[in-house]
């Protein structure tokens, strides 16, 4: 995936990748969904279990999966961290009667955007070539990380023309 400065070039690259991921969905059929549940051992902070689901054993390496989940957990910990910056934001917001959120977005929202970008990256680089797709937890109410497993319908060539690993390796 080329990373040039110009936004339009990046958009056209993304559109090519979109088509590939769309083709993945069209050429492959949804076989199963795996749900990675929340880990509440540290309280109510957002953290997902790093236990490797058995359905993914044949699909992806354990270390890659665990890396993804650990990075996500770190992002969520950063979003919910209670420290100097969050206090400042809270006090400022209170002082302006919370009107400041009309112009500024909260730190949590900024981190969520970073997470969305990270998940997309992971999908493009690692998961889509293996016939998997991660759904952003925010779309599932932060309850689960939903991983969709796709089975190739037989037309394996089209799905990953610009990805590094061909889809047929997942079979």
């Amino acid at each position: 995936m080329s990373k040039t400065g110009s936004c339009s070039k990046r958009l056209s690259d993304r559109s090519r990748l979109f088509h590939n991921l769309q083709e993945l969905r069209h050429s492959a059929s949804l076989a199963n969904k795996v749900f990675v549940q929340r880990d509440y051992s540290e309280g109510t902070t957002c953290k997902f279990q790093t236990k490797f689901p058995t359905e993914l054993e044949t699909r992806i390496e354990r270390s890659l999966f665990e890396d993804t989940v650990k990075t996500l957990n770190n992002y969520y910990a950063e979003a919910e961290k209670i420290g100097g910056q969050s206090y400042l934001e809270g006090c400022l917001a209170c002082a302006t009667a919370y009107l400041i959120f009309l112009c500024m977005e909260t730190r949590y929202e900024k981190v969520l955007k970073k997470i969305a970008k990270y998940i997309q990256e992971q999908n493009e680089k690692i998961y889509a070539p293996r016939g998997l797709l991660i759904t952003d937890p925010i779309e599932r109410g932060m309850r689960v990380i939903e991983i969709s497993i796709y089975e190739d319908r037989g037309s394996s060539g089209s799905s990953s023309s610009s990805s590094s690993v061909s889809g047929s390796t997942t079979r």
Binding site: C7, L11, R14, S15, F18, L21, Q22, R25, H26, S29, L30, A31, N32, K33, F35, R38, Y40, S41, E42, G43, T44, A79, E80, K81, I82, S86, Y87, E89, G90, C91, A93, C94, A97, Y98, L99, F101, T106, R107, Y108, E109, L112, K113, A116, K117, I119, Q120, N123, L133, I134, T135, D136, I138, E139, R140, G141, M142, R143, V144, E146, S148
Partner: protein
């Protein structure tokens, strides 16, 4: 330019990941009618205004009463007392009064209109997956009652996570299901009829700011009204002075509001919710080793965390558009009804427990202005139980392998249509989504019974709760 690009990229990201539906690039191919927004098919019992921007509970009468009381009292104060005081003492008085009044109004509206932290209900695939896991944990086909609780150790304390039959999820710790709004709410504090909304994780700080600033405002008004009366009575006599000021309203509200603020200050400093305090979840009376695992240890950190901590975003995405062609796996299993008989036993026991607790609370706590959600919950639970009956006899099995598209599209229809219209479109508890299945006809029974019966009983109970509290 930069913002526009990042916005479109953001849209691309979201649509790419979640569904196979059209990205902005593919919109020319779409021939469907304008999409509906998610709030229009929200399964909970909430009211939405301003195209999904404002979210409130169903019964908002008391909220308007609160508004009227505040506006009337402040109006009278500014009209009758302020001119006199501004001239006699200092013009700073009306200014401070004005600032306090605006702050009170702002926090009240923010509390009432924002999402308290509602947890969206499980998608059919998630629910099916959970059912399967519970089934496996029970050792296969069960006539055995499922535990429907999970135990988790948090900071050394064992916490039980309960399964919510309505939302089909295991509730996170500190979450609770509000029977008035029919939603699971994160860090559920209580359902406040005075603000017309639940108080939960996302709006607790606004609620606290509201009652704190309202205490200051009422004390402020009360003090200066008394001053006004005293100053005037030097000239014209006590009784005429008394006639001209809004003392009476202030007098009663001062004590109740100040008391409530005090109570919530205690809750914040010990990092408890009203719900936990009522149930005595972390009280030392339950056991020697019982302590609050969520507390940070010192009062200052607890307060800062509650009031100045990060504000999580809304999980329900009210203004998002419904994407009706999300790929789905299988029709949801109806595993719940396999355990129909035992389900009734379990939740019956839990509800009785809650009933006792809540009755104790209402008798013991005169100052707290909360509706008794527990009572409402019991009746909702019982009504739902009677509906579980007709379905227990239906045969159920493991989730079927992926079905073809026509049946898949059926599942999203409940999201797009209004509740309780047809049997095929009933998404609510006991929560079966039939699609070409033989269970279709039984749902007319459910659709017919559930709504009116539970609504009436809930309404009765909320009114009863209010009557009890207003007699305080």
């Amino acid at each position: 330019m930069h913002l526009g690009v990042s916005e479109s990229m953001r849209e691309c990201e979201y649509s790419q990941i979640s569904t196979r539906s059209s990205t902005p690039m593919e919109t020319p191919y779409k021939k469907r009618t304008p999409k509906k927004r998610k709030w229009e098919s929200f399964p909970g019992r909430n009211k939405f205004y301003c195209n999904g921007r404002i979210m409130m509970a169903k019964q908002t009468g008391v909220f308007y009463l609160t508004l009227v009381l505040i506006l009337a009292t402040c109006g009278l104060f500014f009209t009758f007392d302020c001119p006199f005081l501004a001239l006699q003492l200092t013009p700073v008085i009306p200014v401070i009064g004005g600032v306090l009044f605006l702050f009170v109004l702002g926090t009240l509206l923010r509390t009432s209109f924002s999402d308290p932290g509602v947890l969206p209900r499980a998608t059919p695939d998630e629910a099916a997956d959970l059912e399967r896991q519970i089934d496996v944990a029970n050792g296969g086909t069960g006539y055995r009652p499922p535990p429907r609780t999970k135990e988790v150790e948090i900071n050394g304390q064992t916490v039980k996570l309960k399964y919510c039959f309505t939302c089909k999820i295991f509730r996170p710790p500190r979450a609770s299901h509000c029977s008035l709004c029919d939603n699971c709410v994160e860090r559920f504090d209580h359902h406040c009829p005075w603000v017309g909304n639940c108080v939960g994780r996302r709006n607790y700080r606004f609620f606290y700011m509201f009652i704190l600033s309202l205490s200051f405002l009422t004390i402020f008004i009360f003090a200066f009204v008394i001053t006004h009366i005293i100053l005037r009575s030097h000239r014209s006599g006590f009784l005429t002075a008394l006639k001209e000021s809004p003392v009476v309203v202030c007098f009663f509200s001062v004590w109740s509001i100040v008391g409530l603020s005090g109570f919530h200050t205690y809750l914040i400093s010990s990092n408890q919710t009203t719900n936990e305090d009522i149930k005595g979840s972390w009280s030392s009376k339950r056991g020697k080793d019982n302590y609050n695992p969520y507390s940070y240890g010192n009062i200052f950190t607890n307060c800062c965390a509650a009031l100045c901590g990060p504000l999580p975003p809304s999980l329900i995405d009210r203004r998002g558009f419904i994407q009706s062609d999300a790929p789905q796996l299988a029709p949801p299993t109806n595993g719940i009804t396999m355990y129909g008989a035992t389900q009734s036993q379990q939740s019956h026991m839990c509800d009785q427990d809650q009933c006792i607790q809540s009755t104790k609370f209402v008798l013991q706590a005169p100052v707290i202005l909360t509706a008794s959600t527990e009572n409402g919950g019991i009746l909702a639970g019982r009504t739902a139980l009677s509906l579980g009956g007709p379905c227990t006899s239906l045969p159920l099995g493991q989730p079927t392998p992926p079905t073809s598209t026509p049946s898949l599209s059926c599942h999203e229809d409940p999201m797009a249509h209004h509740h309780f219209l047809t049997p095929e479109e009933v998404p609510s508890p006991p929560g079966m989504l039939p699609c070409g299945s033989p269970m279709g006809h039984s749902h007319t029974v459910q659709a017919g019974f559930y709504n009116p019966a539970s609504q009436d009983s809930l309404h009765e109970d909320s009114v009863r709760g209010l009557v009890k509290l207003s007699s305080v």
